[in-house]
Amino acid sequence: MTRARRPDERAEAEPPDIPGFRTWRGIYLFVFGWFVLVVVMLTVFTGIFS
């Protein structure tokens, strides 16, 4: 038998309601990926102009 979730737990488990993202983990991965992309772009920028 599964335990009934408290309202706050339900809120935490709610999907982000952003097109293309079903879970918050997906959003965090996207933000992490964006961070990596920004670092890569800054590295390329440094390579071109320095």
Partner: protein, 568 residues
């Protein structure tokens, strides 16, 4: 500044403050006063989080940093997105689940009353003392450049922020943040566009970037493992992660920005908005500084950008000679840059290398004259502040921008000063009310109206304290650095308390309380006996607090362990 500038400046600054005051003048609910509107969406929360972090010094000093040392400072923000993911996944859901007004209430629920008071006390001590500096630091620069009286600038900005923050509390802060950040973004984009348009004819963005790059201003990332280097990817990711986690996760001025709002989703998206935009935003501000460097290779500029200070000693013959040397070095540098730009387009690699070496040498000569000017100033008056990079961007604004936009950009600086101050005052008032006043008057907790009135009084009290401190800070300039050091001494232990609370579920209140005191003692002893960079005390304080907690939990007598950590 002419009439148009004054209209734009006063219209935007006073207009936004008046709007915040008017819209929130009827706030009576404690929840709205302390946590902001319950209908705030992620955009409002995200802009408010961004505005709290972006002070006037961000917009005055960071372009100067780009001008002087290049854009490598952007790496300092590399830990921020990672920290915000942790705050979003761990800290924010817990704060909302426990329905707390302050981060330190969470410590009370997780541990005990004494640990909560310790956490809140550390915050008030550090943030309360820093309160005056956030008004004083930009006021001294703006009053120097604009020729206004310092005390009037401090009193004007201080009273303006007190009026709307005391009236509408957190809701007024979030509401004004939204418009202040919108105006700041518009102002910075305007400055960038004008800067690009003012570059010499035939020198586009790409050429300007190549010049800045060749002269060492565009090294955005540095993967070096040399510990002697100040800004590298590694110090940015690890040090930045630590500092950002401490700031966004445990500092009430930030926590208060995201614990309210319509739902957990809105808070999370507001934080993710910052995680995505912060590095690009800082990059653009630094890039403005690097482009200013190129602009000033082709435009006559003072040998020392803090002209008010320079003119105080202008009758010294040595200073006039330095100005001539600087103009001469600048002319040579300009010719060398043009020669290099021409050589770049040829296929002659040797010619390009030779032209580049000439350009770098000419630039070094200009830098040497500027360094000599600083030495001359220090010799003329040892109390003179010889760092003039904070004055570079404001000098550009006042001398190169068209009227109207000058007012807008000066308004940007004032808006930034107001927005960070407002968040700080609201947090100080909230923490004093919830964690101290209500703690010692538990029966008053049920009287909502009284709680709001008390919160208003404490917010006003902190505001007046900040203004008074800023008015007298001029007599004790060294106090400012002392306050930054004090922050580093206390911040680490505060983060340690929260890390134990979140991740070491078996550690109880007594263990973490005594561990925090011991860690604080260790940090203070180290500070008094060692000579290391004070930023390291953040890591030492946090690490010691966590390690001591684990040890004490294991060795404390059962009587003191009776109050075990409660998973919340």
């Amino acid at each position: 500044m002419n009439v148009a500038d004054w209209i734009v400046l006063l219209g935007t600054i006073v207009g936004i403050a008046a709007y915040g005051f008017w819209r929130t003048r009827h706030v009576r609910s404690l929840n709205t006063y302390l946590r902001g509107s319950t209908s705030a969406g992620w955009g409002t929360i995200g802009l408010s989080v961004m505005a709290t972090q972006a002070s006037a010094i961000t917009f005055l000093s960071i372009p100067g940093q780009g001008f002087e040392s290049g854009i490598g400072f952007v790496q300092n923000y590399f830990g921020l997105p990672l920290a915000l993911i942790i705050v979003c996944a761990v800290f924010l859901p817990m704060y909302r689940r426990l329905n707390v007004y302050t981060a330190y209430e969470f410590l009370g629920q997780r541990f005990d009353k004494k640990t909560r008071l310790l956490g809140a006390g550390l915050f008030l001590l550090q943030r309360g003392l820093a309160a005056g500096v956030t008004i004083y630091a930009p006021a001294i620069i703006l009053s120097t450049v604009l020729g206004w009286r310092l005390d009037l600038v401090i009193v004007f900005t201080g009273l303006l922020v007190i009026v709307y923050t005391v009236t509408g509390g957190s809701e007024a802060v979030a509401l004004t943040h939204k418009w202040q950040m919108t105006m700041i973004s518009a102002g910075m984009v305007t400055a960038l566009v004008v800067l690009l348009l003012r570059l010499p004819e035939g020198l586009g963005f790409t050429d300007a970037a190549h010049v800045a790059g060749a002269l060492g201003k565009l090294q955005a990332v540095d993967f070096s493992l040399d510990p002697g280097r100040r800004y590298t990817v590694w110090t940015g990711v690890f040090g930045g992660l630590f500092l950002s986690l401490s700031y966004f996760g445990t500092d009430q001025s930030q926590v208060q920005r995201y614990i309210g709002g319509a739902s957990l989703r809105e808070g999370r998206l507001g934080l993710m908005f910052n995680a995505v935009l912060k590095i690009p935003m800082q990059f653009v501000i630094l890039l403005i500084g690097a482009l200013l460097f190129v602009f000033y290779q082709f435009t006559a500029h003072p040998v020392f950008f803090n002209q008010a200070e320079w003119r105080r000693h202008a009758d010294d013959g040595r200073f006039a000679a330095l100005e001539l040397q600087h103009a001469d070095a600048l002319a040579q540098s300009q010719s060398a840059i043009r020669a290099w730009l021409q050589a770049r387009t040829s296929d002659d690699v040797a010619r390009e290398a030779s032209a580049r070496a000439t350009m770098v040498a000419a630039n070094n000569r200009t830098a040497a004259v500027r360094a000599e000017a600083r030495v001359a100033l220090a010799a003329a008056d040892p109390r003179t502040k010889t760092k003039d990079s904070d004055y570079v961007f404001i000098t550009f604004i006042l001398t190169q921008l068209p009227h109207g936009t000058i007012g807008l950009l000066v308004a940007v600086m004032f808006a930034a000063a107001l927005q960070s101050k407002a968040a700080e005052l609201a947090a100080l008032g909230t923490t004093t009310t919830i964690d101290f006043w209500r703690h010692f008057r538990p029966l008053a907790a049920a009287d909502e109206g009284r709680n709001v009135r008390v919160a208003r009084r404490f917010t006003a009290m902190w505001g007046l304290f900040a203004v008074a401190f800023a008015l007298f800070a001029g007599f004790a300039e060294n106090l400012i650095e002392a306050i930054n050091i004090l922050g580093s001494i206390f911040y680490g232990v505060l983060l340690g308390l929260f890390l134990v609370a979140f991740f070491l579920r078996r550690v109880g209140g007594s263990a973490v309380f005594f561990a925090a005191l011991a860690a604080e003692g260790l940090v203070i002893v180290m500070y008094l006996s060692l000579n290391i960079g004070y930023l390291w005390y953040n890591i030492i304080g946090c690490g010691a607090c966590v390690a001591f907690s684990v040890v004490l939990q294991a060795v404390l007598p059962p009587r003191l362990r009776a109050h075990e950590g409660r998973p919340v």
